[in-house]
Amino acid sequence: MKFPLTIAAIALAALMPPAAAAALREGGDPLGSARWGEMQKAFLAGQPVLFDPRVKVVAPSTAENPMQVPVTVDATALPKVEEVIVFADFNPIVQVLRFFPVGSGAYLGFRVKLQQSTPVRAAVRTADGVWHVGGTWVNTVGGGCTAPSGAAANKEWQQRLNEVSVRQWSEGGQGGRVRLRIVHPMDTGLVAGIPAFHLEEISLADAAGQPLMRIQTFEPVAENPVFTLQRGELAGPVAASGHDNNGNLFQASIAP
């Protein structure tokens, strides 16, 4: 199927290798999801959208554990990324997270809870206002959102709630990488008797207070979230701060 490209898309295509440019398309969801129309309306209504192979969403095609499905979004091939929305078409709560890579690469690794087989997508907004969309299907046996968190069965987490561990890598293949783990049950509110209780906001900044990335998290992010970021050049400590939907604050700083 061929779709006419807008001026913005033509301008973009001109800068890309021919194979990648050929894969750009404005309509006809490459993942063939019956929910794409609704997703577009919910998150990207009225704005220019391009299915773009430069937005890489990596996830296992079959998720062994629907409570902890690893997802890596890599949009570093795009220039001037301002915002990334991650959503899963068929999840009972579709929105997973948003991130704003203010001073770091447009790259984020995390884990999600999935209730059934679904596309997992990233919509990436560049400075020109165009949303570039990439994604992949994940098959799963389900139950990820309506199964209780581990914390629901073990109250020890209460002493460690919002405990943050951060580590940076300065050399080797993972140079410039930051990994962050936060203790939180991330309850979805879909389990009887367990109200929604999840992290809402995580901000990372460098020693001078310059923001690296802001992440807005929603219910489907997996319990005890682990995030992987590409900071780029490593320069000094990283400070992490944020809060959950009950107003619990956290703050942590880590040397390189």
């Binding site: 990596v58 062994e64 690893p70 890596t72 690794g109 561990s165 080797g172 682990v226």
Partner: protein, 308 residues
């Protein structure tokens, strides 16, 4: 469109398995000791969950069944196959641990005492239904009518006399929270349960690797006893030596080391999943799928250990 190939596959599986016959053939390991050997595969609708070894000892006063298989049908067919070998009644069923392929045949032994370690009994009571549901999803109608029967008799480590037979019960853990190995003194056969896999990558959903490694050392010591004749692993062929113990240990050590190394190097879970298997395990049956599962089971803890 996405679902069409899957439903076709399920349909084909159901046709192939129309008779739901596991074709259980008792294989003699020692006088009065027989095993049913399962396939070195993942659960699917063709094998109906028969990827497991179960065994029976024909003792003076009755038959001792070690693990009951993945379904009611398996249990019933095993019972018929046992009746083809001996007219003695089944005196006792033992479940070595709480994984579904080892206890879901319990239902076929109604009226017979079913015994297990206390941790196994708790595990079956707590998670049995979820396991059965999951196995049903993977193996289809082979599981029809299968219900969880929780063992009623708690076993403890040490010498154990049953049906006129002297057994030695070795209470271990590591593959799950409670793993029972059984040494049959008269035949010198060691039933290792799923602490030992032979020619198949081990499964790790409830594994505690350090405990498992310690358990393997204990089992290997048992194979050096003068009376030892055979090792029955939970999965894979029966052997006369400790080779599968070493193979299982090598896999676990590699897995543990590789999770630790990956976490220390700062890898994300998707990068760990994408790593190739080392050449020594590349040809091991179901190694790729078990590796993927094991990353999910074990990597978060390795990650937590370095993010401190």
């Amino acid at each position: 469109m996405k679902y069409l190939p899957l439903s076709l596959l399920l349909f084909a599986g159901a046709v192939l398995a129309a008779a739901f016959d596991y074709r259980l053939q008792p294989r003699q390991v020692a006088p009065d000791v027989d095993v049913f050997i399962g396939r070195s595969e993942d659960f699917n609708t063709v094998n109906g969950g028969n990827i497991v070894n179960t065994a029976f000892i024909v003792a003076a006063q009755g038959v001792i069944v070690i693990d009951s298989g993945p379904s009611l049908r398996y249990g019933e067919q095993a019972r018929r196959a046992i009746a083809g070998v001996t007219s003695r009644p089944v005196a006792l069923v033992i479940n070595t641990h709480h994984h579904p392929d080892h206890f879901l045949g319990n239902q076929a032994y109604a009226g017979t005492p079913i015994a297990a370690l206390p941790g196994t009994i708790q595990g079956i009571a707590a998670d049995g239904n979820a396991f059965a549901e999951n196995l049903y999803r993977m193996s289809g109608d082979w599981l029809k009518g299968t219900e969880v029967v929780v063992p009623t008799q708690a076993l403890a480590a040490g010498p154990y006399r049953v049906a006129g037979r002297q057994l030695e019960l070795i209470a271990l853990d590591g593959h799950t929270g409670a793993d029972l190995a059984i040494y049959d003194v008269a035949s010198g056969v060691l039933f290792a349960g799923d602490l030992v896999f032979n020619g198949r990558a081990p499964t790790t959903p409830h594994a505690e690797i350090n405990h498992w490694l310690a358990a393997l050392d204990q089992l290997e010591a048992l194979t050096r006893r003068p009376g030892f004749t055979a090792l029955v692993p939970g999965h894979g062929e029966v052997v006369r030596d400790a080779a599968p113990i070493r193979q299982t240990r090598a896999w676990l050590l590699w897995l543990q080391g590789s999770m630790k190394q990956a976490a220390e190097a700062g890898l994300d879970m998707n990068e760990v999943l994408a790593r190739p298997l080392p050449p020594e395990f590349a040809d091991l049956p179901v190694a790729a799928s078990e590796y993927r599962r094991s990353v999910g089971h074990l990597f978060p803890a390795a990650e937590e250990a370095v993010l401190k």
